[in-house]
C-alpha cells in the first residue's frame, strides 16, 4: 500500500503545483487576452461602420448589436455578427448596416475555413468592398448582384446567403428608415 500511497502523493503534488502555476499564469495573461479580444471586436466594428469612434452594445431578441457612434455621439449604424455556410465550414462575419439608408456599410470576415487561395479570397477587400453601399433589399444572389471569385462559387454564395438571412431578422428589429 505504501507504494500506492507514494504514487498518489507524487501525482497530487504535481497536480497541485501545476494548478498553482496555471492559475498564476492565467491571472497574468487573462487581462491581456480580454483586452486583445476587445480590440479585435472594436477594430472589426470600426471597419464595417466607417467614421465611428465608439460603440454601444445592445442585446435584442438574442442578437448582439453594436451601435456605432461618432465623435458627437451620433448614431452612424449598426454592426452585427452573421454566419454563412461556406465550402469548408461556417463563415463568421461582421456586417455593418445603416438602417437610415437601408444599406450595408461594410463587411469583414472574422473567421472561416475556406480553401486557401480560392474560397479564402472572400477575405480580400476586392470581394468584401462590393457589399459597401449595397441595399439590404437586394436579392444577394451570386453571379447576379454578387460578384464571385473565379473558380470559387460556394464561398461567396455562403457569404451572401449568410448576410441575407441575418438581414431578414435584423431588418425586422431595425426596419429600414426606422429609428434605433
Amino acid at each position: 500500500m505504501n507504494q500506492y500511497a507514494r504514487m498518489i502523493v507524487v501525482l497530487l503534488i504535481f497536480s497541485v503545483l501545476s494548478g498553482a502555476v496555471l492559475g498564476f499564469s492565467y491571472e497574468i495573461a487573462n487581462p491581456k487576452i480580454q483586452e486583445q479580444a476587445k480590440k479585435d471586436l472594436e477594430a472589426s466594428i470600426k471597419n464595417v461602420l466607417p467614421g465611428i469612434t465608439k460603440y454601444e452594445q445592445v442585446e435584442k431578441e438574442g442578437i448582439t448589436f453594436y451601435i456605432g457612434l461618432d465623435d458627437q455621439g451620433n448614431k452612424k449604424g449598426i454592426a452585427f455578427k452573421a454566419t454563412g455556410q461556406g465550402f469548408g465550414g461556417p463563415i463568421e462575419m461582421m456586417v455593418g448596416y445603416d438602417p437610415k439608408e437601408g444599406k450595408l456599410t461594410g463587411l469583414q470576415i472574422l473567421s472561416m475555413s475556406e480553401t486557401p487561395g480560392l474560397g479564402a479570397r472572400i477575405k480580400e477587400p476586392a470581394f468584401t468592398e462590393q457589399f459597401k453601399g449595397k441595399s439590404v433589399n437586394d436579392p444577394f444572389i451570386p453571379k447576379k448582384d454578387v460578384q464571385v471569385i473565379t473558380g470559387a462559387t460556394i464561398s461567396p454564395a455562403g457569404v451572401a446567403s449568410g448576410i441575407k438571412s441575418a438581414l431578414e431578422k435584423v431588418t425586422k428589429i431595425y426596419p429600414v428608415g426606422g429609428d434605433y
Binding site: Y4, M7, I8, L11, L12, F14, S15, V16, S18, G19, A20, L22, G23, F24, Y26, E27
Partner: protein
C-alpha cells in the same frame, strides 16, 4: 487572484486524487503479472528475427528462455557475448560453450566455368525453383545451382555470389546458424568446425567417370587422398571422398595430391612448426612427428626440417614446454601476403 489559484489548485488536486486513487485501486484489482525479464532479454537479442534458434523471432526466443525452454546460449547469431548477457539476466552463469564454433562451407566448386550444363533453364531465378525443374540446369545432380538462395537467407550477410556463380562464405562473419544449410536444395553447404581448413569440395556420388563427364573439379573417387593421408582422416565413401573432421590435422597432403583439385584448403601455404628457445630437448616432438621432420639431440634444442614438416601441429600439442609454435608464412586468410601471421593454435 488568490481565489483563482486556490480554485485551480483545489480542483487539480481533487482530480488527481480521484484519478490516482481510482487507478491505484484498479491496478490492484486488475493486476496481472508479467515477467520483466522477457523484455530485458528481448533487448539483448540481436533482433534479426532470423529464426535460426527455431523460435518465431527474437521475442519468441526471449519468452522461451524465461520459461526455461531454451538455453541462454540458444541464439547462434548473437554468440557468446549475447549468451553472457542473457545469462546475467537469468541469473545463471553462462553455459560453457563446449561446442566449438562451426562455420558453413560450400562443398561444390562446379561453377559456370567448371560444371557442364545439361540444359538452358528459364524461369524463376531461385535455386529451389530451378532444382524443381529437372533437378537444375547443371549436368551434375549434386552441383550448386548458383542462384544464391543461401546468400539471400543469410542473416549476417556472410554469403556473396561469385562471378563464377558459386557462393563465397566470409568465415569471419559466419555465425554458423545453419540457415543456408537448410535453404540449399542441393545440400552443398554444410557446417564444419572453424579450425578445419581442408575440405572436399564435392558431394557427387556419381561414378568417377560420370563425375568427370559432368564437372572438371568433381571427385572422381581415385582414392589418392586416402592413400596419402597420414592420419586416416579421409576416405572414399560411395564414390566421393569424405573427411573425418575430428581426425584431419590440416596437413594438406591430400590437397596436394588431388588430381582434380577437388580437395582444397583455405590457405595456399601450410603452417610450419618452429621450435623456440624454450626447448629442453626432451625429444617428445621428434618421436611423435608422423613425417620425421624433427631432429635433435637429447637436451639440446631440436630443429624442424621445414621441407618435411606438414604442419600437423602434433608436436606443438605434445611439447611439454610450449616451445613449438605453428607459423604460417607469407599468407593471411584473405590470400594476400602478410609477414607475421603467427598463429598459436
Amino acid at each position: 487572484m488568490a481565489n483563482v489559484i486556490l480554485v485551480s489548485v483545489l480542483s487539480m488536486g481533487g482530480l488527481s486524487l480521484l484519478l490516482g486513487a481510482g487507478l491505484a485501486y484498479a491496478s490492484k484489482k486488475f493486476a496481472v503479472e508479467t515477467d520483466p525479464r522477457v523484455d530485458e532479454i528481448n533487448e539483448v537479442l540481436p533482433g534479426a528475427n532470423c529464426g535460426a534458434c527455431g523460435y518465431p523471432g527474437c521475442s519468441g526466443l526471449a519468452g522461451a528462455i524465461v520459461e526455461g525452454k531454451a538455453p541462454v546460449n540458444a541464439c547462434l547469431v548473437g554468440g557468446p557475448a549475447v549468451a553472457q548477457k542473457i545469462a546475467e539476466i537469468m541469473g545463471v552463469s553462462a553455459v560453457e560453450d563446449t561446442k566449438e564454433k562451426k562455420v558453413a562451407r560450400v562443398l561444390c566448386q562446379g561453377g559456370i566455368n567448371e560444371a557442364k550444363f545439361k540444359a538452358d533453364y528459364h524461369g524463376v531465378k531461385t535455386c529451389r525453383a530451378a532444382a524443381m525443374v529437372n533437378g537444375g540446369p547443371k549436368a551434375c545432380p549434386f552441383a550448386c545451382i548458383g542462384f544464391g538462395d543461401c546468400a539471400k537467407v543469410c542473416p549476417v550477410g556472410a554469403i556473396t555470389m561469385s562471378e563464377n556463380g558459386l557462393p563465397v562464405i566470409d568465415e569471419e562473419k559466419c555465425t554458423g546458424c545453419g540457415l543456408c544449410v537448410k535453404e540449399c536444395p542441393k545440400m552443398v553447404i554444410s557446417l564444419s568446425p572453424e579450425r578445419n581448413e581442408v575440405h572436399v569440395r564435392c558431394r557427387a556420388t556419381l561414378k568417377g567417370k560420370d563425375t568427370r563427364d559432368v564437372c572438371k573439379v568433381g571427385c572422381i573417387a581415385c582414392k589418392q587422398c586416402e592413400k596419402v593421408c597420414p592420419f586416416d582422416a579421409i576416405h572414399v565413401v560411395n564414390n566421393v571422398a569424405v573427411i573425418d573432421y575430428d581426425k584431419c590435422r590440416n596437413c594438406m597432403l591430400c590437397v596436394e595430391k588431388c588430381p582434380t583439385k577437388t580437395i582444397t584448403s583455405l590457405f595456399p601455404a601450410r603452417k610450419k612448426a618452429v621450435i623456440n628457445d624454450n626447448c629442453i630437448g626432451c625429444t617428445i616432438c621428434a618421436k611423435n612427428c608422423p613425417v620425421n621432420a624433427i631432429s635433435g639431440e637429447v637436451k639440446k634444442k631440436h630443429e624442424v626440417n621445414q621441407e618435411l614438416c606438414i604442419g600437423c601441429s602434433i608436436c606443438a600439442e605434445k611439447c611439454p614446454k610450449d616451445a613449438i609454435v605453428m607459423v604460417r608464412e607469407k599468407y593471411n586468410k584473405n590470400g594476400g601476403s602478410c609477414g607475421d601471421c603467427a598463429e598459436a593454435k
